[in-house]
């Protein structure tokens, strides 16, 4: 196991040395160390394992083998820059940095270098406007959709009326945590609820004062926009002040096993948003077991298969692989380059048939990408943690968000970016 792993990495390392032909290179800017390492490892494992599965089972994509070029960032933007510069010359097809800060960092760089970037469920929300952000995609869902889906869920629980209710937003005091605020403020105005903003400084181990405030003010709902250690602490603190778990909801980055297990039974009923299904009850996972896990080729320690974040990493790899297929078909070559990959992403269609073909029917929402819309339809679901069974389950289908509110916000934010950087319309 160890030797094979070393061999795989040795191969990956030689890939860095120079551009090699007949390979599809997917750099993975991962973080297996630092305060977010527990979460980062699961996502990176899922991403690498799916690519390994394609190599082992299908002989790559369209006959060309895939290579995952992993580079450790420790969630630090400076190391992220180093990793980006080190990997971009290796024939990189697409970047998925898994960090909102890094995504901001890379938006101008990938645009200049002509390499696409996919920030599924994170990053700068307004990249959904493909008219401004040519190289960057964030389908199928973004933070603003997430905020709206959460509010819609609360509306449904209260017969469509939230007036006079209070929603507290506990957020990571960074670009990531601040993203949903404009949307929530707009929604607060429409639906008449009060929004309380409670910033928590990174990494978020210290939240006593915020929870004291919640204990004093007793908001009706609490939303959590955290990552890594901050989630565990928040859920534990919520249990400590006896905040009703069923009224506590996290964004998709605040809803993994790592976050709820430390709080034990107290976390029962905690909710989180998601844009893909939980668990391993799909035909694809049988192949994954046979070709990757049983063969000893799994990334990392190999024990993360089926966790929420593993599935997310795998879903990201799946979207990239599907885009490669589209690009290969469009351009009629198997060895595509970054520019062709961008076309593939822009013409990606995820439907029941395509998901069934890869053994993941119903795993994620169906959507189409277009030149103007790089964000997909913004469908998400709500999941609930069952502490007895130790599993997440979806309690809604993939439901739409309030695009009437979100679209103008996307237009305004991307227009501001376009003006600041003199970007002309990309889709005409």
């Amino acid at each position: 196991m160890k030797l094979t792993k070393l061999a795989v990495i040795a191969v990956a390392a030689t890939m860095v040395a120079g551009p090699v032909l007949a390979q599809l290179v997917f750099p993975s800017l991962s973080y297996r160390t630092g305060p977010f390492g527990a979460n980062g490892s699961e996502v990176a494992d899922g991403f690498a394992d799916y690519m390994t599965l394609l190599n082992e089972r299908d002989g790559g994509i369209g006959g060309v083998m895939t290579v995952v070029n992993e580079c450790e960032t420790g969630y630090s933007t400076e190391k992220g820059v180093e990793c980006y510069e080190a990997t971009k010359g290796s024939g990189a097809l697409i970047y998925q940095p898994l960090s909102t800060g890094m995504a901001y960092q890379l938006i101008p760089r990938v645009t200049a270098d002509g390499i696409p970037m996919l920030t599924t469920g994170y990053g700068r929300t307004s990249v959904a406007n493909g008219d401004v952000f040519k190289q960057v995609f964030n389908f199928p869902v973004n933070y603003w959709n997430g905020a709206s889906i959460a509010v819609n869920y609360m509306l449904a629980e209260n017969d469509g009326d939230l007036s006079g209710k209070t929603i507290a937003l506990l957020y990571h005091n960074s670009a990531y945590g601040k993203e949903p605020i404009p949307t929530l403020e707009a929604l607060a105005e429409i639906h008449g609820f009060d929004l309380t903003l409670l910033p928590i400084d990174s990494p978020g181990q210290e939240q006593k004062s915020q929870w004291l405030q919640i204990r004093r003010e007793r908001p009706d709902y609490a939303l959590l926009w955290g990552w890594g250690i901050m989630n565990q602490v928040a859920i534990q603190e919520a249990a400590n002040v006896r905040f009703p778990m069923e009224n506590f909801m996290g964004i998709w980055w605040s809803g993994s096993e790592n976050d709820v297990i430390p709080a034990g039974m107290a976390a029962d009923g905690y909710k989180a948003l998601t844009f893909h299904a939980m668990g391993t009850d799909f035909p694809m996972f049988d192949d994954l077991q046979t070709y990757v896990v049983d063969a000893g080729l799994a990334a990392g320690s190999g024990d993360n298969v089926g966790t929420v974040l593993y599935n997310r990493g795998m879903y990201g790899a799946m979207l990239a692989a599907e885009a490669v297929k589209v690009a290969q078909e469009m351009h009629g070559v198997a060895q595509i380059d970054a520019a062709m990959m961008r076309d593939g992403l822009e013409n990606l269609v995820i439907s029941d048939e395509s998901m069934a073909a890869i053994g993941l029917q119903g795993f994620g929402p169906n959507f189409n990408v277009s030149c103007k819309n790089h964000g997909g339809p913004g469908l998400g679901a709500v999941a609930e943690w069952d502490a007895t069974a130790q599993e997440w389950s979806l309690i809604t289908g993939f439901v739409p968000s309030d695009m009437d509110v979100i679209q103008p916000l996307i237009e305004a934010d991307s227009a501001a970016y376009a003006a600041e950087n003199n970007i002309e319309s990309q889709c005409s």
Partner: protein, 358 residues
Amino acid sequence: MFYREAGDFKKTYVEDSQTFPLKLDRYGFYLLMAVAFGVIPFFINDYWANAILIPFLVWSIAALGLNILGGYCGQISLGSGGFMAVGAYTAYKLMTSFPDLNMFVIVLLSGGVTAMVGLIFGLPSLRIKGFYLAVATLAAQFFLVWMFNKFGWFYNYSASGQITAPAREVFGFEVTGATASAAAKYLFCLVLVVGLAWLARNLTRGRIGRSWMAVRDMDIAAEIIGVNPFKTKLLAFAVSSFFIGVSGSLFFSVYLGAIEVGEAFGIQKSFLLLFMIIIGGLGTIFGSFIGAAFLVLMPVLLKNIMVNQLSFPIDIAAHMEFVLIGLFIMVTLILEPRGIAQLWRFAKAKLRLWPFPH
């Protein structure tokens, strides 16, 4: 034997007081400058610029600044991260408000604004000393970061609080933004580093530098011999903050291009900078560069050796990197508590006597 004054005659006062009195040193310096300005720009690529040379140059300026305050004037400061943030946000506001302004002007103005802020936070140094001052400057660190996070005006009310550097030019060459060439960015930083190092060197060996050192060595004695502690300490704070502000504005505009204040300028940056000057050598110009190189370039070097040459798994390599750097720091400081610059000075003295031991 190799390295001596013999035969190197000084005929004027100017020659006698030059920075590098030894011929070998002088030629070495000229060679370094020739390579830095004449060779590297033609061979530099994006990786070397963005991952290695630009961070090194930017951190060198900051280390020079903190060395003026901490090494020469003896005032411990933990507010450097906050001062870098002032430089970065001033640069951002100037870049977005005056798109046609030359980047040199923007960077120097950012330094100027930071110097003002540094003056204000330097005031407590008149009454408190040593560790107590360090705690007082810690307030600057937390207050400034909080302020840039709290008020939307500083980040032009963007949704996420991130600031992104637009493309700006110096004499027609883009030096910020993603489309700027590696050589242009590198040369822009290099010119500032050379200029500021020249300034620092000449400040510290003249009257001002001597008054700083007098205050550092014994402030009461300094006051008795006629050094005004009020002016001296505040000047050190202002000059040091100017350097750190310039470095912060380059860190944001040229190096990273997009930052968010909590992650980029947190307390860990203040500590990093303090470690740089302690490891490099307090009170030396050379030490500032060595310290910056040690803490900025060493991790990249170790990573490349372990991951690319020895094929370690990346997470093991990342952990090993912490262990090794910690080990290097301990070994260096045990062998030479006055920093790597002292080792260098020691080596020069030995070379001068070689082959005779005394």
